[in-house]
Symmetry: C2
Subunit: 337 residues, 2 copies
């Protein structure tokens, strides 16, 4: 299996992505196509152990920075993200992994690869750790304006991902709202609620913001605006808390010793709640496998993202999504007719 | 000044509200009208020190529980929340404070007191602590479906609250969105963005979920659906983190000692980030002062909520909001004409 890896992605670029790709190639027995500035990649590659790994470098003369916008995505015709997506389009790679600018990967993948048949809006999903396991949030930012049937499609795609990649049978789907009662929500969610109830999915009703971490649902569906705000709020809280803990606790002698004593365990907790560790976000519904890792991914997180891409391919997630969307359309067509 | 206090509110009812009202009466030199089941209130009252306090008990035969819905709000004609709002309506109290069912207080206050002239949608605002000071979130749940001009009115009301109650000159207003660039957002926020830019408010542009705690803006405006989700996500993260810290860290000997050593400081941090301490949410734009404290408020938080109500009345916030809304309509009328 060949997986294209955006070597220019992430906060650290080739310094981290090349090592991650090498590790992935060794561990998952895949061929990594490292896409980016050849010289930079080669420099990193030469420093590392490349036994038992298969890596090919594909030159891409441009790269898209984390802060760049739509104009750059369009203008840079030889960006590593564009070329990575094109490798999938041409069948030269079976998946594309990037830890680069999320908006760029979403935009260029949609544009170059297009959506799977029947999928109206490909969506970005992300696994976040909860108290008992993992919750899939979908959509976390690909679609800011949604109609009720889009949310239902997100539910179907999430269901298929959780079943086929995580092996979770009949995952519980919750709808992000502002209260658990059926009647709570805005115009969008109230209508989506009814569609979910009429669907064959395992719909458990409305959930609230706090349920992202409670483990009450395996999948939480929302429009991409709400999902993105929710995700960034939670990042903000964690950052603020760790910042406050560091600054406030270091002021006090006893707390300082206390912090020292629990350092190792605190790091374990942080690692558990840090979703960068879980392989990145999945662009579901696109006609090609595309995984987007967090910008601050280390080599291990890049490796995990490649592993997730491999699981996608091996489990034929794309094919299953296309069938799932067709089936739910059929089931709903029947219910309505 | 007379302030009606819902004695039946909160997770602990009269056990906490009566003490809070007594403290408030003493500290702020106001008369507290305790609304609720007379016997229960009297029982708590008799246990406490009531020197230098002025308290009147107003009997209300019914109370609305935290989990109850719209049907109860309507059916219970003698609920403490309804009677509290009616005291303001009749001019027998200058403000109403409740730590009860938020949806009930919003619904009954809107119904009984109505909106201030020119205000289309009264909104629920909440002060949350950030790294440097306090950020006002508006709306956190009163209006789930909003139009762009509603968000603008929220901005005006938030501006007036921050200026007149917190004494913050020309507060910075951010619009909750999914990226800082002007072009980011959904249909609602993009249009609201333009309205804010044309307004005389100190608009700093789009902010993200993480900025609730960064202190980048003094006021963050959103529709009530988004605001409520954001707030509950952040509650969930904090709860989860403290739960994990407790359970994970207690498993390890060194961490256990560490936790013991920093206990006092951790509690200080928790208190600082716990917005229940900051006096509760404000129902802005209603024709009467109405403060809604958090359900888990202790006596001190109830006292703070009454203090906030007094600040509202003393600073003539209602009058200023009415003028502010009229002025912005005028300013915008001019700009558009």
């Amino acid at each position: 299996m060949k997986v294209a890896v955006d070597a220019m992605g992430g906060d650290f670029g080739p310094k981290v992505t090349v090592e991650g790709a090498l590790k992935a190639s060794r561990e998952y027995k895949i061929e990594a196509l490292l896409v980016g500035l050849e010289d930079l990649i080669k420099k990193e590659y030469d420093k590392l152990d490349h036994s038992k790994s298969k890596v090919t470098i594909i030159n891409a003369a441009e790269s898209i920075g984390m802060g760049e916008g739509l104009l750059s995505f369009r203008r840079k015709k030889r960006s590593s993200i564009r070329i990575g997506a094109e490798l999938v389009k041409k069948g030269e790679a079976e998946a594309f992994v990037s830890t680069g600018n999320t908006a760029a990967v979403v935009y260029l993948s949609k544009k170059i690869l297009g959506a799977l048949k029947g999928v109206e809006k490909p969506a970005l999903s992300l696994l976040v750790p909860n108290l008992r396991g993992l919750t899939l949030l979908i959509d976390v930012g690909a679609n800011v304006n949604c109609r009720p049937h889009h949310l239902e499609q997100f539910g179907v795609m999430g269901h298929i991902f959780m079943e086929s990649v995580l092996g979770l049978k009949n995952p519980r789907i919750g709808l992000m709202s502002i209260g658990e009662e059926d009647s709570k929500g805005n115009e969008l969610t109230k209508e989506a609620f009814e569609r979910f109830q009429a669907s064959p999915l395992n719909f458990i009703g409305n959930v609230e913001g706090k349920d992202i971490y409670s483990g009450k649902a395996d999948i939480i569906v929302s429009d991409g605006f709400t999902g993105n705000v929710a995700l960034k709020v939670s990042e903000g809280v964690v950052e603020t808390f760790f910042y406050m803990a560091r600054t406030e606790l270091m002021k006090n002698f006893f707390s300082k010793i206390g912090l020292f004593l629990m350092k190792r365990n605190l790091r374990k907790i942080y690692k558990r709640i840090d979703y960068a560790e879980y392989g990145g976000a999945q662009l579901l519904g696109i006609n090609g496998v595309c995984i987007i890792g967090h910008g601050r991914s280390n080599a291990n997180a890049v490796k995990n993202a490649v592993g997730l891409a491999r699981d996608f391919v091996q489990n034929k997630v794309q094919e299953k999504i296309q069938n799932g969307i067709a089936n739910i359309s059929y089931a709903i067509g029947k219910a309505e007719g």
